[in-house]
């Protein structure tokens, strides 16, 4: 025996081999020998460690320190530092994706700590090519017990009692399968292991075979004893050379020890197995097709019954189980059924291995107890979504499975629940999709896969999936027609009912489940010819433009700025969005979050380029306006001079209409002027662009309030043919806590409106703002400027869930706003009728809510008080239906806003159109602008019967672009802000425009996704 002071376990799974672990191993051994540590330190190559995305991975025992993403050139430093000087090399450790915290020990990394290792208990711990190491960790102990102490009936009973269900996908009780087979007549029976893992993105079975092949062999021998078999097969696809290599070594070693072959362990029991290499046809993962393939024929399924338990391989009774199922058996026998079924849910016991892939931070192989919440797998173990994007759905079960969307993150993952939601457990592929993935495109991918892999034996699968693929491809290409969704559902259901084998019966699942949860995306593709996620190439000119609600030609104006053609850029911008200067200041730039440059370095600073461009404007520059004598005579009323109303007026004016705008306030701009603070959006900027619109023939009637001075019906009586409602959601929601009516308690909308319209508002000494959105930040920074001594912002969730824009939060903190997370108000405390303090509850994050965020719940007994003489709540907004409609019956949507046709913005009343916040709830300026445009087109279409939206036609760009050239190497232009002393106590604009040189350079960073090679 040789004792080493340290064991270095280097991952040698296929994933780590691919990322270079063999070169790392060679370099490591070289360094160890060079430093004379060969006798003290042992290097062991293991199977897959699970954390594949971070490979090559090295775990150092006894410390349990894990090093990741290693390269051969790291080895001299690692050996010198760690093994000679005993210092951990920080830079090679794991870094938590969200908090950036460095975690040295494997057991402390959530990815590992939260797993429950049973099937994978030996992964990364033993050398899979040394049978003794497996035996040292109870390998073959269950088999020894089964062969020496148990009858076949007792084995079957133990497996039945354990509740183990087949891990290949369908979840049939393993013990039952064995029981049926054991009762089948015949002397020759077969035990078959299905290692034909074929789902895209799934690699559980491969990892088990690579990391612990003996566990599978052991399980098969036990099964053989249970059913009375003496021969078995492992059907493994030829694409898994390492798994086959290790299986061959394992079976050879097992035979040498007499653990396979004649008279196993001297018990008189005989069993041996062959490894059969499959050629990789997906259908051969289906049991009858697999057996046909072993028989040497073309792998195609056959109808069941007869089931394989009665007539399987070569018409002999056979059982077929998945790799993971067999890997559980040895431990069930060794430790007992009650040990096994101590974890899991009522009908799904034990653990499940998932191949966690897609847009999640920690990609790899995870083993979790049945019944774990989906959210826990994705956020705790998986470390959340990459680049801080939003979670959209999890695709479970590969081409036979379906999607589970964010609303179901609380779902306990087990066979029943997952099936109920339209997915399947499958063999355990779990692909995480972020907001940038298109549901239709995902469905198309799987449909394409299934269609390619269909064996062609039965028509429903052969022809049906082809038809489905054609339709879905049409939808992706913008050629989908109305009724396609219904046809897909109908065809899908009939394929499910009539296909011969499991592959065909489950093939429609990805389509059906995406229709179930993302029907709106299918509709957007079909009706609007729009891909909301910005994926489908036929529908997306450039992702930035696609992401802009108003559809601004981003690559167009950006490239024009790059050529210093500012006037043309501005005109192009105003083709789709008149408020170029306003948006240059305050747009939350959905374009930037989709910018493809972010995969190279950082997204383009599109908003800042725009801001610079508008700064070069002398006289307002407008695109094409078309005169129309007929349109000029038609009466159109617009209620509300906010961004939605003004945009509607602008686009109507471009078609020659002369709309009348009615505005209650003395100034136009709506929320832009009433709530957005001046330090973000100077008032002259709003005035300038409002005036520009007024000059196009739009008349704004100030001080004219809906519900007081007129009603919608009275407008109709005055002869208005169409009315656009763009009144927003003007009131701040109440908190619903005692003391809310005290003096000194207000809401952010009222507070900001008071200051912005009158120039005065109370400052307070100790200001407490409640909420995490932009209104909360605006109120906090306004109070600070008005002289508040201390401003504290309370938010019931954490920083990561704050809906406010990151830049705004950052600036607020710089200015001195204190952020206090996981706190919720319970009561405003009174002193002589004025608020004096706010009683608060400490919160913690609980289950996931429908938005996919963790719901805050109060921690008992942790209430506390915060001193406050001004409390501003910013927790939401609402509208007053009665005030708006005054007797007119207008249909509302589920969220309590006005229901409209998403294409033309028409409400349930024929002549009434609505858009902006009033239809979708508090959102953004650019979204309101888009709604205004939609309504203008809708109104014009209703009045003229034709589509005259000439601005929607894409303009041909004549800016230069060389597709062969490398992207210019420049960093994203940083924000330029006023210093703290320059901005405190005043409302001067905080952000400064980029200097010309850096704006032009920034514009040139554009990768020009709009470019298409001329054919």
């Amino acid at each position: 025996m040789k004792v080493f002071r340290s064991h270095l376990l280097l991952c040698g799974g296929t994933g780590c081999h691919a990322s270079g672990s063999q070169a790392v191993k060679a370099a490591l051994i070289e360094q160890i020998n060079k430093k004379g540590l060969g006798e003290e330190v042992k290097v062991v190559e293991t199977g897959c460690n699970g954390f594949c995305a971070q490979g090559p991975i090295l775990v150092v025992y006894p410390e349990g320190v894990v090093y990741m993403s290693l390269k051969p050139e790291d080895m001299p430093e690692l050996v010198e530092e760690h093994f000679i000087k005993g210092r951990i090399v920080q830079r090679l450790l794991y870094r938590e994706p969200l908090s950036k915290e460095v975690i040295p020990a494997m057991k402390d990394i959530p990815f590992f700590a939260l797993q429950e290792l049973r099937v994978l208990r030996n992964r990364g711990i033993i050398d899979p090519e040394v049978i003794d190491e497996a035996i040292a960790r109870d390998g073959y102990a269950g088999m020894a017990k089964a062969l020496t102490e148990m009858t076949p009936e007792a084995i079957i009973k133990e497996v039945l009692d354990s509740g183990l269900r087949g891990r290949g996908g369908a979840g049939f009780p393993t013990g039952l399968k064995w029981k049926f087979c054991s009762q089948s007549p015949g002397n020759i029976k077969y035990v078959i292991c299905n290692a034909d893992e074929g789902d895209p993105g799934a690699f559980m079975d491969r990892s088990v075979l690579e990391a612990d092949p003996h566990a599978v062999i052991e399980g098969m021998v036990i099964a053989a004893k249970a059913i009375g078999s003496s021969h078995g097969y492992i059907y493994c696809r030829a694409e898994y050379p390492l798994a086959i290599h290790r299986l061959n070594i394992a079976t050879a070693q097992a035979r040498e020890y007499g653990l396979l072959g004649q008279n196993i362990l001297g018990t008189g029991f005989n069993f041996d197995l062959d490894i059969y290499q499959g050629a990789g046809a997906f259908v051969c993962g289906e049991e009858t097709a697999l057996m046909t393939s072993i028989e040497g024929k073309r792998g195609m399924p056959r109808p069941r019954p007869p089931f394989p338990a009665l007539s399987g391989l070569w018409q002999k009774p056979s059982i077929l189980n998945n790799v993971e199922t067999f890997a559980n058996i040895g431990q069930i026998i060794h430790k007992g059924a009650s040990w096994y079924n101590s974890i899991g849910t009522e009908k799904s016991k034990g653990t499940k291995v998932f191949a966690l892939t897609g847009d999640v931070n920690n990609i790899g192989l995870v083993e979790v107890p049945m019944g774990i919440q989906l959210g826990e797998i994705i956020y705790e173990i998986g470390g959340g979504i990459q680049k801080g994007k939003k979670f959209k759905a999890a695709q479970l079960g590969g081409p036979s499975g379906g999607c589970i969307p964010a609303a179901h993150l609380n779902t306990p993952v087990d066979f029943e629940k997952v099936t109920e939601l339209g997915a399947i457990m499958g063999s355990g592929g779990l692909i995480v999709l972020d907001e940038d993935k298109c549901a239709v495109d995902v469905a198309r991918f799987f449909m394409d896969f299934v269609q390619e892999e269909s064996c062609g034996k039965c028509p429903p699968c052969r022809v049906g999936t082809k038809r489905m693929l054609e339709m879905i491809t049409d939808i992706c290409n913008g050629k989908g027609k109305e009724g396609y969704i219904e046809k897909l559902i109908e065809l899908g259901n009939s394929i499910k009912d009539t296909a011969l084998c499991g592959l065909g019966q489950t093939a429609p699942n990805p389509v059906l489940s995406t229709i179930r949860y993302f029907r709106d995306e299918y509709e957007a593709h079909i009706l609007e010819k729009r891909c909301p996620a910005g994926v489908c190439p036929e529908l997306v000119r450039a992702p930035c433009q696609n992401a802009c609600p108003a559809g601004v030609d981003v690559p167009g104006f950006v490239s024009l700025v790059g050529e210093e053609r500012y006037s043309e850029g501005l005109k192009l911008h105003r083709e789709r969005n008149p408020f170029a200067e306003i948006c240059g200041r305050i747009c939350f730039h959905p374009c930037e979050s989709k910018c493809r440059r972010s995969s190279l370095d950082e997204p383009l600073a599109i908003r800042q380029v725009k801001r610079f461009m508008t700064g070069m404007e002398k006289e307002p520059l407008l695109p094409e306006f078309r005169e129309s004598e007929i349109n000029a005579t038609r009466k159109i009323a617009i209620v509300g001079a906010g961004p939605a109303g003004l945009s509607c007026a602008y686009f109507l004016a471009r078609l020659g209409y002369k709309p009348q705008v009615f505005e209650a306030a003395p100034r136009a701009g709506g929320m832009m002027v009433q709530t957005i603070p001046e330090y973000r959006l100077p008032r002259q900027v709003i005035e300038k662009e409002v005036k520009m619109i007024e000059n196009t023939g739009v008349k704004i009637n100030y001080g004219s309030r809906l519900g007081r001075d007129f009603t919608l019906l009275s407008l109709r009586d005055q002869g208005y043919e169409a009315v656009f409602l763009g009144v927003g959601v003007p009131y701040g929601s109440k908190m619903g806590i005692p003391g809310e009516d005290l003096i000194g308690v207000t809401d952010a909308i009222s507070y900001l409106r008071e200051y912005n319209l009158t120039g005065k508002a109370p400052a307070g000494n100790n200001v407490v703002v409640i909420g995490g959105g932009n209104a909360a930040i605006d109120a906090a920074r306004t109070a600070l400027r008005l002289g508040a001594k201390e401003v504290t912002l309370l938010y019931r969730r954490t920083r990561f869930e704050m809906p406010a824009w990151a830049e705004e939060i950052h600036e607020a903190e710089i200015e001195g706003v204190k952020l206090n997370f996981l706190v919720a108000p319970i009561e405003a405390v009174s002193l002589n009728g004025r608020v004096s303090a706010l009683k608060c509850a400490k919160m913690e994050l609980g289950d996931y809510d429908r938005s996919g965020r963790r719901r805050p719940v109060a921690v008992k007994g942790k209430d506390f008080e915060v001193k406050a003489d001004l409390v501003i709540s910013a927790i939401g907004q609402y509208l007053d239906e009665k005030e708006i409609f005054a007797g007119l019956n207008v249909e509302m949507n589920k969220s309590g806003y006005v229901k409209v046709d998403p294409l033309c913005a028409r409400t349930s009343v024929e002549w009434l159109y609505a858009g902006g916040d009033v239809t979708v709830g508090p959102s953004s300026v650019v979204e309101a602008i888009a709604w205004g445009e939609k309504a203008a087109v809708g109104i014009d279409q209703a009045l003229t019967g034709t589509d005259n939206a000439f601005w929607r036609k894409e303009k041909v760009l004549d800016t230069f672009f060389d597709p062969e050239a490398d992207p210019i190497d420049a960093k994203r232009a940083p924000l330029l802000n006023l210093s703290l002393s320059e901005r405190m106590g005043n409302f001067k604009e905080v952000e400064k425009a980029l200097p010309a040189a850096s704006a032009v350079c920034e514009a040139k960073r554009c990768l020009r996704c709009d470019y298409r090679a001329e054919s």
Partner: protein
């Protein structure tokens, strides 16, 4: 390798388990050999060799051996810290192979601090 019996399975398990036990994180003692430049110059390498030899000879698996850098007391090198699980660490100074063997037998196996070589606690 020859064909094995159920009894052999247990023997293999015990033998190999001893070799691989340190991957499981349970140990009776942690010994740190100070291997800064000063330590190595003063002979820490020999101390390490003799420690590893003792552990192998004793056939035990639950002693963790690690290294560390210079502790700042270069004149006292080679130094050694023995930390029995649940007890205060003891620092030994000016160790050689012979002293190492005594400390191993007396302190690590016997549980008695070899105060004649000890420098300090902690």
């Amino acid at each position: 390798m020859a064909r094995i019996t159920v009894g052999d399975l247990k023997k293999i398990k015990e033998r190999v388990h001893n070799e691989t036990a340190l991957r499981e994180g349970v140990h009776r003692a942690k010994v740190t050999v100070h291997m800064g430049t000063c330590g190595i110059a003063a002979g820490a390498r020999g101390v390490m060799d003799s420690l590893m030899g003792e552990i192998a000879a004793a056939g035990i698996s639950d002693v963790v051996v690690t290294t560390s850098g210079c502790a700042g007391l270069c004149s006292q090198e080679p130094m050694l810290t023995v930390e029995m699980t649940g007890e205060e660490p003891i620092v030994y100074s000016k160790i050689d192979g012979n002293k190492m063997r005594q400390i191993f037998k007396g302190h690590i196996l016997g549980g008695v601090v070899q105060s004649q070589f000890a420098l300090a606690k902690g």
